[in-house]
Symmetry: C2
Subunit: 215 residues, 2 copies
């Protein structure tokens, strides 16, 4: 057996080429992928060039061209105003206020399932967080106040997350909307459909008890 110490070290590591290294680094910046899983994903892509990497690169290039942010509500879509804002069959008197586009998509999935409001949306772009330096001007709150002045709008449904930051933001928005002639509501708290009481926290359970409905 040759002693490996007799050999000079290799000029560079066998870890991919520069191209793959760069691919790994960029993939690692996706949420849900760390450095390890980014390497795995890159390998997966390289092994499935024609079946996956080519179409994915194409889909991204297309999305870069086609997709933008709706100047009215902050939704991400291929048209501006987005197809929700420009849909005449929507109820334009109600605006559902969400933290993020992902929340809008989640509510629209409920809408597709027949359970939602078919209303308009307003994406805040986050929650108030003084510690992170995120104040009212960093969120799309002034634009919401403007929209609320519109006579056509009669109700604002605040659908922020039930976290401390979300609730702080909800209070702030309620204050700022005081002058506007709109009803303000928030999502109900309660037991998730399909949820087991045993696994729920006390806060949810007592909220569900307080908001009990007659059968």
């Amino acid at each position: 057996m040759n002693d490996p110490r007799d050999l000079q070290p290799a000029a560079r590591s066998a870890e991919p080429g520069q191209e793959i290294e760069r691919l790994i680094q960029l993939l690692a910046r996706l949420p849900g992928l760390g450095p390890r899983s980014a390497r795995r994903a890159a390998l997966h892509l390289v092994k499935r060039k024609d079946a996956l990497m080519v179409p994915l690169a194409g889909a991204m290039a297309e999305a870069v061209e086609a997709v933008g942010i709706c100047s009215t509500c902050g939704n991400i879509d291929t048209s501006d105003p987005c197809h929700v804002c420009s849909d005449p069959r929507r109820d334009h008197s109600m605006i559902i206020v969400v933290e993020d586009v992902s929340d809008l998509w989640a509510l629209e999935r409920a809408n597709d399932a027949g359970g939602s409001m078919n209303a308009l949306y307003h994406v805040l772009g986050g929650t108030l967080s003084p510690l992170d330096g995120i104040g009212p001007d960093d969120l799309s709150i002034p634009a919401l106040v403007d929209r609320a002045q519109d006579d056509a709008v009669s109700e604002i449904i605040i659908a922020v997350n039930a976290t401390v930051e979300g609730q702080t933001t909800a209070h702030f928005i309620t204050d700022r909307l005081e002058g506007a002639d709109v009803a303000i509501s928030r999502l109900a708290h309660g037991v998730p459909v399909g949820g087991e009481l045993d696994y729920l926290d006390e806060g949810t359970l007592s909220a569900a008890l307080r908001a009990r409905t007659k059968l």
Copy 2:
């Protein structure tokens, strides 16, 4: 409040446009990303068009062009033969047999850290698995037997995973290499560096005991 039931359902959901939908579907095929996290990743990409999506699409397009599989060892690289196989400072008398390119990369990281063999590699492309219909011909075993006939090769180090499939494959390879004039070895079993005995399984502990080294 308007009754939403008075309104006709929206023509299509607000969930992205077709472009984003396709991006989500393709991202969901990456290992480590499910449908939910793929949606999150797509949103992340769309929000960071210039900082992330454009470079990532570019990096993929580049990798599609540049990267291929080494016809000698099965490594993934920008040249064929890959830079490991074509590196004259490598020890060309030793071939380390691995299941997958990711294992090759892992061993090369050990190499960079100064602890590996600076040898050549051979990527099998998996392990024998009769239940999944993976037989010897589906792996790069004939090519390995060919390489072992080369007079320059004196040792084959079998570095497959310490799983049942890996060990079965190792036995099979050992049988097939019987005629060749090479030493065959496998990775040592033992306590991982930094590992705590308390958390190790009995198999590893008794292997480490049997293979104890004198101080």
